[in-house]
Structures are given as C-alpha cells and as structure tokens.
C-alpha cells in the first residue's frame, strides 16, 4: 500500500530533465529575492543573496551538464564559472559581514530598514 | 572689402575687444573702481570708433545675404577641423565672420547701445569689477551674433550672452531679480535648445566640397571644377545652407515644403521668437525689464531683442524660404497680435518701466509684421525699426532710470508736473515719447510706416488691424506723459534735480540720432538697401518658382 502510493506519486512525476533543475533554480532565485526584500535583519538579507547565487550556480552546472540549446554538447565552462561564483560569494559575504558589523557598532542594530537616514 | 589691424580683421577686433577689456578689468584690483569704469568705457569707445570705420568703409552696393562675395570684412578660416574616419565624415567648422547690409546696421546699433549702456553704468556701486566684466562679456556675445556667418559660431555667441545676462539681472537687479533672471534664462535656453536641434539637422542636410586649403565650395561649383582634390563634407556655413543645391539628397531637411522642414523651421522660429519676444512667448520680458538695472534694460531692449528678429532674417528667411512663405501669414498674425496686445497691456500698466517693456513687445511686433511682408519696403522698414527701436527704447529706459535714480519709485501715478521741475529732462522725454508713438520727423515713424506699407502689400486685413496700434500707442504714451510730466508737481518731489551732464550726454546723443534719422534715414537705409532687395528677391523667387527655381 505504502509502496504503491509512493510508486504512484513517482509515476505521476515526470522523468527528470534539464528543465527540472532549472525550475528548482528559479524557485531558489525567487526565494532569495524574497528574502532580500523582506528580511529586516541584514544577515538574513545576506542569506537571501546566497540563495540567489546558488540558484545561478545550479543553472550554470545544469547547462554545463546538458549542453543547453546550443549544438556543442556538454562543456565544463559552466562548472568553472560556478567555482568563481562560489569564490566571489565568499568574498562578498566577508565584506558584507564586515560592513554589517560596522553598522552594528554604529547603530546598535542590524535591521536594514532602521538604517535609512539617507533619503529624500 | 577688407580691413585689418595688426593682421587681425576688424570684425574680430570689434567682437573680441570686450573680452580683452574683461580680462583687463579682472586683473585690476577690486578697489580701483574708476580704473575699471574707464577701462570698460574705453573699450566701448574703441568699438564705436571701429563701428565708424566699418560704416565709412562699407560698400553699399554689395548685397550679401546668400553670397559670400557680397559679404564684407570677411574673415574666413578653419576653426575646428576633425579628419574623417571611415564611418564619420570630416567635421569642419569655420571661423567665418562677415557682414552685409543686414548685419552692419546691427553692429552699429550694438556699438552705440553698448557705449551708452556703459556710461549709464557709471552709478553702479556694488561689485563693480564683476559687473563691468560681465557687461563686456555680454557685449562680445551680442556683437558676435551679428557678425557670425557660421551657424555654430552664431549659436556659441548666442548662448554666451545668457549667463552674463542672468547675473547682471540677478545680482544688480531689483527686488524680484532672482525670479526675473531665472525666468529669462529658462525661457531663452528653452528656445535655444530647439534652435540647436534645428541647427544640427541643417548641418546634416547640407553638403559642400572642401578643397585642400580648407576652402568651401558649393556642390554646383565643385561639380563644375571636376572634383579634383575635393572632399565632400557637412557644414555649418550659413551661406552654404541657403543654397538648395547643397542639400544632401534624402537627408532630413532635404526637399521642399516637407513636414520636417516645417518642423525645423518652427523649432528655429520658437528660439528666435522667445528672444523677440513675440506673443505668446513674451512673458519673460516685463519681469526681466522691471528688475534689471537701467543699463541692462537698455541693452536688453536695445540689442538683445533684435537678435531674435535678426536671426529670423539672417537664418530662417534664406534657409527656409519655403517654410517662411508657408507660415508668413501666421508670422504676420503673431506680429499683429504682439503689436495690439502689447499696446493694450501697456496701457494698463502703472509701473513706468513695465509699461515701456510692454511697449517694446508692441514695437517689436512691427518688426515681425514688416519682415513677414517679404518685400523690400516691409523688410527695410523692419530692419530700420530694429535700429530705431534700439535707440528709442534705450532712451525710454534711460528716462525711466533717471527718474528712478532720483525718486526710487517708478509708479507713473506718483508723479506729475515734472515738466516744470526738470525742463531738460522733459525736453528729451518728449522727443523719446513722440518718437515711440511714431511721430513723423522722428525715426520711429519712418520705420513703422515702411513696415506697415510693406505689410499692406502682402496682408491687407492684418495690416489694417495692426494700424490700430498707431492710435493705441499714442494713447498710452500720451497718458504716461500726462501723468508723469504734466499737471502739478506733488509736494514730495520738490527736491528733484534735473539731469546731470552724464545723463544729458547719453540722452542727447540718442535724441540727435533719433531726430536725424527721422528726417534723413538714407544713411542707414543705404547700408541695407542692396541686402534687403536681395533677400526680398530670394523670397519672391522661392515663392514663384519653388525648389526647382532655387537650384
């Protein structure tokens, strides 16, 4: 019974293809953006940024694997690019956290929306 | 006609002398006020001397307008020359000065009015250094506009005036000077950006050949000579733009009576009309005049307004004869509206200066109507009116200035009976007022009469409506005269003194010119006659034969 249900669900789910990875990536991307826009805590905003970067990486690697629409077939460029993205994500996270710490020292808060004295 | 000093052409001298003066003024210490004043005055006197030289050496038989051979005191050289690359044609901008009958009148006027305005600035008592430096820069801008024959150069001079004017009104003006200054600036800039676009469009629609020595040849000429060593370029040369043979086939403004040509014409027109100012673009003028210090009002009314009408005659007419003919009725209509409207609104004013300002709108309407007639009489009248309005309105503003200096008010209703108290002043004033209302024997009459006579030939109904201003002008002018000078002197003005020597000198100089030209206008008319005939010929030719005939 249990197994048949499981099998039924699996049967209903289509075979995994490139588009599946891409859709996961799209969801992560949207969630990341959502996080950036909605979270007041600066660190959580940064988490949102990481989600966006991960989404992009999934794309890069998926395309690297499936070869995309172009005729040339799989290539490793996407993976190499993903490595750089990870590196830069780290760099960015580092400086961003430093800045957040500085903000915390200045304002005693890490709520982004409270740091809004520069405006019209 | 050539005339050079130290190897530099006289037009360059007369244009850039003020810049030299400005540098000198800037180098003088702030406290040596008299030195600053005398330097400025010296420069303008030199300009007058140069203007006299130009006048005496000017060949009255040459027409100019659209032929470089007819231009006089020509200085033509390369200013900017950027070699072409594969995809971008050579950019060649000329330093091209020259005058014909149309511009020589304006050059004389500018020299004269600048001279008078400098004398009139003697009493400026705040930041003299800045004031005179700006005044001289303004002077260069005005002179430059009238001697440039390259659109680019023209535009540069045109814009150069804006900033000095802004500061001259804004710093040394009346209580609402900031408002007036920014209004002036924004209006004029709005007009000039449209002009800029029209200018660029014209640039791309005009082709000429340039030879190895950097000399421009028209397409027809170049083709005839066999094209050896010639390169085809676009040009800002105004005279080249006037030749339909130089049109680039298929370019934006190519062809005849096309919508793009009309649009470009209208853009150009708005740029000029704001300066004139023509109804409904006139509202900056009353504010600017009221707030400006007297010498600046004199320059504003005396020279700056003429730049609009000059621009139309110099550029709009010969470059866009088709559009000009197409819109001539509308142009005349706006001129008539300005005339009547300006006169009516002037009548309602109680501020002496504002009244004169509106009268300027009315009088400049005459110029527009006259030039819209497209015939020699009308255009001659219009150009003469430009000159005469320059002198007469300068007088009127000086008159206002004299009384304002003494009484610190300009309300016409606050005065009365000044005729007894200030006889010399009153005498000059009567001359100025009657000249303004077009009394025969004074210069204003002749120009108005010929403008209207010319206009009548083309637009009967409009001219008849316009002629009503003859009555209206008399009405408001005499009314002011009555309120200010006739009647009895109010007690509070018992202490007023008559004009001093400086004021008398300025006003009498102008009055003499006004009377002389009123009786015998030929000295000025002869200067421009050939050019006006030529311009009228171009317009009529365009009207009768269309584009084919132009080529």
């Amino acid at each position: 019974m249990q197994t048949s249900l499981f099998n039924g669900v699996l049967a209903w789910l289509p075979n995994v293809q490139l588009a599946h990875f891409l859709i996961v990536s799209a969801i992560l991307f949207a969630l990341g953006l959502y996080g950036i826009v909605t979270r007041r805590n600066a660190i959580m905003v940064l988490m949102g940024v990481e989600l966006v970067l991960n989404a992009a990486n999934i794309n890069l690697i998926a395309f690297s694997r499936y070869g995309g629409l172009h005729a040339s077939g799989p290539a490793l460029d996407g993976q190499v690019a993903a490595i750089f993205v990870i590196i830069l994500a780290a760099a960015e996270a580092a400086i961003a956290l430093a800045i957040v710490l500085n903000i915390y020292n200045r304002f005693q808060t890490v709520n982004v929306d409270e740091v809004s004295s520069l405006k019209e | 006609m050539e005339f050079t000093l130290l190897g530099i052409g006289i037009l360059t001298w007369i244009t850039f002398l003020p810049v030299v003066g400005m540098v000198a003024v800037l180098l003088l210490p702030k406290n040596s006020k008299d030195a600053i004043r005398w330097t400025s005055l010296g420069v303008t006197i030199l300009q007058v001397v140069l203007a006299v030289v130009i006048y005496s050496r000017f060949d009255r038989s040459l027409a100019g307008i659209n032929s470089v051979a007819g231009m006089q005191f020509v200085e033509q050289g390369t200013w900017i020359d950027i070699p072409s690359v594969a995809w971008f044609g050579r950019v060649h901008i000329e330093y091209f000065l020259g005058i014909d009958g149309l511009s020589v009148v304006m050059v004389l006027l500018t020299a004269l009015v600048s001279f008078i305005a400098t004398i009139s600035s003697w009493k400026i008592d705040r930041s003299e250094k800045g004031y005179f430096a700006l005044l001289l820069l303004l002077n260069t801008g005005m002179m430059g506009v009238f001697v440039s024959l390259d659109f680019f150069l023209f535009y540069v001079f045109w814009e150069v005036m804006l900033l000095p004017m802004y500061f001259l009104i804004g710093v040394w003006g009346g209580p609402r000077r900031e408002y007036a200054a920014i209004k002036f600036f924004l209006y004029t800039l709005f007009g000039s950006v449209l002009m800029l676009l029209a200018m660029i469009a014209l640039y791309f629609s005009t082709n000429v050949y340039i030879d190895g020595a950097g000399v421009i040849h028209s397409i027809a000429e170049g083709t005839k000579s066999g094209l050896a060593g010639l390169e085809k370029i676009h040009t800002f040369n105004l005279l080249a733009m006037m030749d339909p043979g130089n049109m680039v086939p298929g370019s934006l403004l190519a062809g005849w009576e096309t919508s793009w040509r009309y649009i470009a014409y209208v853009g150009l027109f708005i740029g000029f009309a704001i300066k004139v100012p023509l109804f409904p673009f006139h509202t900056w003028l009353p504010d600017a005049h009221v707030e400006a210090p007297t010498p600046i009002s004199v320059i504003l009314a005396g020279v700056l307004l003429k730049m609009g009408t000059y621009g139309m005659l110099r550029i709009s007419f010969p470059v866009f004869p088709d559009a000009m003919l197409h819109f001539s009725w509308e142009l005349a209509l706006l001129g008539v509206i300005s005339m009547v409207y300006g006169a009516l609104v002037a009548m309602a004013q109680t501020d002496f200066k504002k009244l004169i300002a509106y009268s300027s709108i009315s009088h400049m309407g005459v110029v527009i109507l006259g030039m819209a007639s497209m015939n020699t009489q009308g255009m001659t009248g219009a150009v003469l009116q430009m000159f005469n309005h320059g002198t007469i309105t300068a007088m009127l503003f000086l008159i206002v200035g004299v009384i304002y200096d003494r009484a610190h008010t300009r309300g016409v209703n606050e005065f009365g009976g000044l005729m007894n108290k200030m006889p010399r002043y009153s005498a000059v004033m009567v001359i100025a007022f009657f000249a303004a209302l077009g009394l025969p024997g004074l210069s204003g009459f002749i120009s108005e009469a010929f403008s209207l006579l010319g206009a009548f030939q083309t637009f009967r109904t409009l001219t008849i409506i316009a002629a009503v201003t003859i009555v209206l002008t008399a009405g408001y002018m005499l009314w002011v005269l009555q309120r200010v000078f006739l009647g009895t002197l109010p007690e509070k003005w018992a202490g007023l003194t008559d004009m001093d020597g400086r004021e008398t000198f300025m006003l009498v100089t102008l009055a003499v010119i006004v009377i002389f030209l009123g009786i015998y206008p030929a000295p000025v008319l002869d200067l421009m006659n050939a050019s006006m005939n030529s311009l009228a010929g171009i317009m009529q030719h365009a009207g009768t034969t269309g584009m084919m005939g132009m080529q």
Binding site: L33, V37, V45, V112, D113, S116, L118, K119, E120 | R176, E178, Y179, A180, I182, K183, L186, H282, T283, Y341, L344, V345, M347, A348, Q349, N375, T376, Q377, T380, G417, N420, A427, L439, P440, G441, F445, L453, F456, Q457, T463, A467, I470, V471, L472, A474, G475, L478, W479, Q482, L486, G487, Y520, P521, A522, L525, D526, N529, A530, A536, G537, H541
Partner: protein, 690 residues
C-alpha cells in the same frame, strides 16, 4: 525767375518758422522780452515773402506750377517692382499759394495779438516757439506735392496742436484736451495712412501727380474700382479727424482749453481747415460715391454742431461749434462738387473766424483783467451770461466782432456771403443732378441757425446790460497790439478782397484761380462733370441767394427777438423742450458715448488683457498659485519655491514630477531592491508584448 523760384521762396517761408522754433526753444528765455520780437519778426518776414509769392503766382506765373522734388529714399532695384524711389517734393500752385498766404496772414496776426494776450505767461518764449513749429508744420501740408509729406505735416500739426492745447498743462482739463485732440486725430490719421498705403501699394509712389496719372491711365488701386472709392474715403478720414468732422468732431470744443490766440490760429482758421485743403488736393481722385460720403459727412457735421452751438454759453465753445459747423459746410461744398466755393469758404472763414476768436480773446482778456482786479477767481470769464453791454467799453472789438458775425451769417457785402452762397447754390445744383434734396434743405436750415446763434452771441456779449456793475467798471479795451489785428481781419472780411461783385464771386480772382480740377477717375465713376455742374450752379445762383438771405434774416431776427427784445423767452423754450435742450447742452452726448464705449471699452480691455497676461499667459507658463494650492499633497515648500520664483509650467510639471519621483527614494534599501526587481519584470512584460 521762374515758377520754380517761387518754390524756393516758399521753402524760405516754410523754414523761417522752423528756425524761429529752434531759436526760441534754445535761446528764447535768454533773449530780451523773451524773444517775442524775434519770432514775430521772422514770421512777418515770412508773411512778406508769402504775399509776394502769391502775387507773383497770380500775375506772372498764372499758368505755371512750380515744383521742387528730391529723392528722399532710393530703394534701387526692388524685386517685383523695379526701380523704386521715394521722391518727395514741394509744389506751388494756386491752391498752395493762396493757402500759404492765408496761413501766414493769420499766423502773423495771431503772433502780434499774442504779444498782448500772453504777455505775462509763464512759458512765454516757449509759446512763441510752438507757434513757430505749428506754422512750419502747416506749411508742410500746404506745400507738399505728395501724400507722404502731407501725412508728415498732418502729424506734425497734431503735435503742435497737442503742445499748444496743453500749454497750460498744470490744468488737468488742458492736458486732457491735448491728449484727446491728438488721439482723436490719430484715429482719422489711421484712415489716411491706410488710404495712402493703398495708393502706394498700387502706384509705388506717394506723388499726387503720379497717382493721378496712374489713375488716368486706367490703373485701379489694388486692381478694383471699389478700392478707389474706399481709398478716397480713407484719405478723407484724415480730414474727418483734422477738420473735426462727425464723428471725430469731439476734440475741437475741448481744444478751447488752449490760449485763445491758438484757438484762432489752429482751431479755427488754419489747421482745422487742413482737412478741407486735403480734400481739395486729392479732389481729382475722388469718385462720385466718395464725394457723396464726404457731402453727407459734412452735412451731418454742420447740422449737429450748429444745433449744439445754440445751447452753449461759453463764448469759445459757441465759436468752436460754429467752426465745426462751418467746416462741415466746406466739406459739404467740396462733396457736392462746389470745389471753388468750398475752398473759398475756407479762405473767407479763416479770416472772420480768426477774427471772431481773437475778438473773443480780447473780450476774455478784458473780463479776466476785470476779474483779476476784483480778485474774483471763481467766475468764468468765458461765460457769456456773465458778460453783456461790452459794446461801450470795447468799441473796436465790438465793431470788428459785428463785421465777422455778419460775414459768418452770410449777409451781403461780406466775404462770407459770397462763399456760403456759392456752396448753397452748389448743393441745390447737386440736388438737381442727383436727387439728394436733403442736402440743400439742411444746408439752408443750418445757415439760418448760424445767423441765429452768432447773433445770440453778439447780443449777449456786447449789447444789453452787464451782469455785474462793479466788474463792468474795470473792463477796458485791449491794447493796440491786440486790436490792430482785429481791425485788419475785419477789413479782410469784406467782399472786395475776393471779388469786385459783392453778389457773385464767380468772376472774382479766387474763383478764377481755382477752377474745379478735372477728375482722373473713370467716367462712369466720376461725379457730374465740372462744366455741367458750373452750369447748374449758375442756374441755382439766384434762388440760392434769395433763400439764404431769407434764412439769414430770419435767424438774425429771431436772435434779436429772443435775446435783445426778449419777445420770446429763451428760458421758456428751454424748459418746455427740456430733453432736447439738455441734449444740445450736452453736445448730443458724444463725449459720454465715446467715453463709455471707446475709451471705457479700451481701458476695460487693457485691464482684462493685463490680467490675462499676468495670470493666464504667464500663469500657464508660470504655474500660478491656483494650480499649486489645488494640489493637496504639495507641501508648503512648493509654494515657497513658487514665490522664490522658479516654476513655470514646465518647471511646475517638472517640480511635480520630481516630487512624485522623490517618493521612490525612501531611504530603505530593500524597497529599492523591490523597485528594481519590479522594474525588470515590468520591462520584461512590456517588451514581451511589443
């Protein structure tokens, strides 16, 4: 010596007064006696030359026309026209010679009279200077051989008239009157100018000879015959203004604010007659229709002003209306085609009307002196009700005045009889030819009215008893310098100077010298041909004379019956016809009508436009307060900025736009992110659809 020499001499006459003007303006005050001798002397010399010219013209050069022309402006080869020159010139023909003499005679006499009349005026020298410029301007009109110079002179006399009416400009009424005169005249000039423009547009010349020649060759103004009539009427508009014809007659009575000698010179004898002179000058180009208009305008003027004159009490006002009426006569005379008599009336009228004014000046001078003696500054020295019985005190003035009055009333043996009779005969002939019988009927009626009100004036002023005995004691005859001109003018009002036959002027030298000029308009447009018309006049002569004598006699008799013998009570008539009387006293309410409709209308329009200009046109561009205040969320800062003076409509919109756009800059970075993401999506969907 040739006819052209006469022109040269005339130019001397022309320029002498101008020289006088310049000298008086610059040096007058510094000269002994403030220079009156200088100006008067100059004028006297000019008079001498003018009379010499007239004599020579009438005798030696009877048939010749002298002219002097010069190119004033040369337009060279004008596109569409060909060579174009503005040639101006002066000419001396019979018309001009006679007119010049008249102007100079009156002018000289007025100069002398003024020495007495104005002797303690504050601006004595300036006054003489103004007389000089007036004389000059008037002579420009007289001598001009072209429309342009005519127009120039036309405006210049307007100027001098303005200056002289406003001579006592401390008085508000004087400066008002001066303004009114100038502006009203300009209305007429407007028509003149347009008429001139029509001619110039067609013939490219202002010269009358050339225009006549052009018309004769069949070229029509602006290519149509109706424009010819229109042009004629428009040029006549100038005359309407200057000669105070209906409907522009309103300025002349007010012009009496000027010194009385000025009234005599300008507003009675010469300047106002310039209109008549103009019509005479352009007579050949007037079509029958134009002449008809002219005749009716003259008629209307004559009638209206005669009726008004009856009800006036100010001595000068009566004379002023009488002047208008007589000018109407002249215009009517020209209109019906009685060219010769119309112009002759101008001459004769100039003499006796100048005399009347100078006489009244003498009276006013006396009254003023007497009142001054009594320290009476309230009584009006010009009101005839305050006069009476002056005959005994001022005999010379009285007798001169009587002669003038007889002349204006058209009593035989006077100059006025001859000319007026000629005009009336002309109207009858005209009626005979065209059937417009109203013209002679009203003409005769007005003749009667003229006799009536003029004698009313004489009776009330000089006969009967004086209103105030005490004052009467102080009334004196005027000094010699004043009464001699009166005498001269009285003499000149006698028939002998114009024709040896007191009953028929048709063989007098003026009539001979001024035959009606041949018309240049096409035959089917022209009025009755000159010879035919002369025939008609000849036939109408006798009945006209008898009729005019009858009505003049009736008028005089009625005046005596009413005011001398008091058989008829003027007051009773006035009361019983109160509305009519009131209407006449109020001068047919023209001033009120114009004041409300024309002046009031214009002023209302100016105020309205001023409002429009500052509020709407400027406001539209300028963003006036209403636009701002209406928009609720715009802060007070915006208003402050408006006052700071920034915002024109574009700037208003810009400012508004800026304000809205600023709202996006919240300072919250996550909001920025949201906007950015949203923008990308919007762009995506927009471009997806495109």
């Amino acid at each position: 010596m040739s006819a052209d020499t006469l022109v040269t001499l005339s130019l001397a006459v022309l320029l002498l007064p101008l020289a006088g003007f310049v000298l008086m303006m610059f040096f007058g005050k510094k000269l002994p006696r403030q220079g009156d001798w200088l100006e008067t002397g100059i004028i006297t010399i000019a008079l001498g030359i003018a009379l010499y010219v007239l004599f020579q013209k009438m005798t030696t050069f009877a048939g010749e026309v002298g002219s002097l022309r010069f190119t004033w402006i040369d337009f060279h080869e004008v596109p569409g026209i060909g060579p174009l020159k503005i040639v101006l010139g002066f000419t001396i023909d019979n018309l001009a010679a006679i007119m010049m003499a008249v102007v100079m005679i009156i002018s000289t006499l007025v100069h002398y009279f003024s020495i007495g009349y104005m002797h303690d005026d504050v601006r004595y020298s300036r006054y003489f200077g103004y007389l000089g410029i007036f004389t000059f301007s008037m002579l420009v009109i007289v001598l001009a051989d072209n429309l342009f110079l005519l127009y120039v002179g036309w405006e210049l006399v307007g100027l001098s008239s303005y200056l002289l009416i406003g001579h006592w400009y401390e008085k508000k009424s004087a400066s008002n009157a001066a303004m009114k005169a100038f502006i009203t005249n300009r209305v007429g000039d407007l028509g003149f100018f347009i008429g001139m423009a029509i001619m110039f547009t067609t013939f490219h010349t202002f010269g009358l000879t050339e225009i006549f020649a052009g018309l004769q060759s069949g070229q029509m103004p602006l290519g149509s015959e109706s424009w010819l009539t229109v042009a004629g009427v428009l040029i006549f508009c100038g005359a309407i203004g200057k000669s105070a014809q209906f409907p522009l007659h309103v300025w002349l009575p007010d012009a009496m604010e000027g010194p009385t000698p000025v009234s005599a010179l300008i507003h009675a004898a010469t300047m106002v007659a310039a209109g008549v002179y103009l019509v005479a000058r352009v007579f050949p180009l007037l079509t029958a229709d134009a002449l008809m208009v002219i005749a009716y305008i003259g008629l209307t003027t004559a009638f209206i002003s005669a009726t008004i004159a009856i009800a006036q009490n100010d001595i000068k006002k009566v004379l002023a209306y009488s002047t208008i009426s007589q000018l109407g006569y002249m215009v009517m005379g020209l209109g019906v085609g009685a060219y010769t008599y119309g112009f002759m009336h101008l001459v004769t009228h100039a003499m006796f009307k100048a005399g009347l004014f100078l006489g009244s000046g003498s009276v006013i001078h006396a009254m003023h002196g007497a009142m001054h003696h009594q320290h009476d500054h309230h009584t009006d020295p010009q009101d005839i009700r305050n006069m009476g019985g002056l005959r005994t005190k001022m005999p010379v003035t009285f007798w001169a005045f009587v002669i003038y009055t007889l002349a204006i009333s058209g009593v035989p043996l006077t100059s006025g009889f001859m000319s007026k009779d000629g005009i009336l005969a002309g109207t009858m002939a005209f009626a005979g030819f065209t059937g417009h019988t109203l013209i002679p009927i009203v003409g005769f009626f007005v003749a009667g009215l003229t006799a009536f009100y003029m004698f009313r004036l004489v009776i009330l002023t000089f006969l009967g008893a004086h209103a105030d005995e005490k004052r009467f004691a102080h009334v004196h005859e005027s000094p010699k310098v004043m009464i001699i001109p009166l005498m001269i003018l009285a003499v000149l009002s006698v028939f002998v100077f114009y024709s040896w036959n007191p009953l028929d002027a048709s063989h007098g030298w003026i009539s001979q010298a001024l035959p009606r000029p041949a018309t240049v308009v096409p035959e089917h447009l022209a009025a009755t041909e000159a010879a035919e018309f002369a025939e008609g006049v000849h036939h109408a002569h006798m009945p006209a004379m008898l009729l005019s004598l009858t009505v003049a006699g009736l008028g005089i008799a009625l005046a005596f019956a009413t005011y001398y013998w008091k058989k008829i009570s003027a007051d009773r008539i006035a009361t019983s016809l109160a509305p009519v009387h009131r209407f006449l006293v109020d001068k047919w309410r023209f001033d009120e009508l114009y004041g409300t409709v024309v002046v009031g209308g214009t002023l209302a329009l100016t105020r309205a436009l001023n409002w429009v200009d500052s509020k709407i046109i400027d406001g539209a561009v300028n963003g006036a307060g209403w636009a701002t205040r209406g928009t609720s969320f715009i802060s007070s800062r915006f208003d402050a900025l408006v006052i700071d003076g920034i915002v024109n409509l574009s700037a208003y919109l810009s400012g508004f736009g800026g304000l809205v756009l600023r709202k996006f800059q919240t300072g919250k970075v996550q909001t920025y992110v949201l906007f950015t993401v949203a923008s990308v999506l919007v762009l995506y969907f927009v471009f997806r659809m495109v």
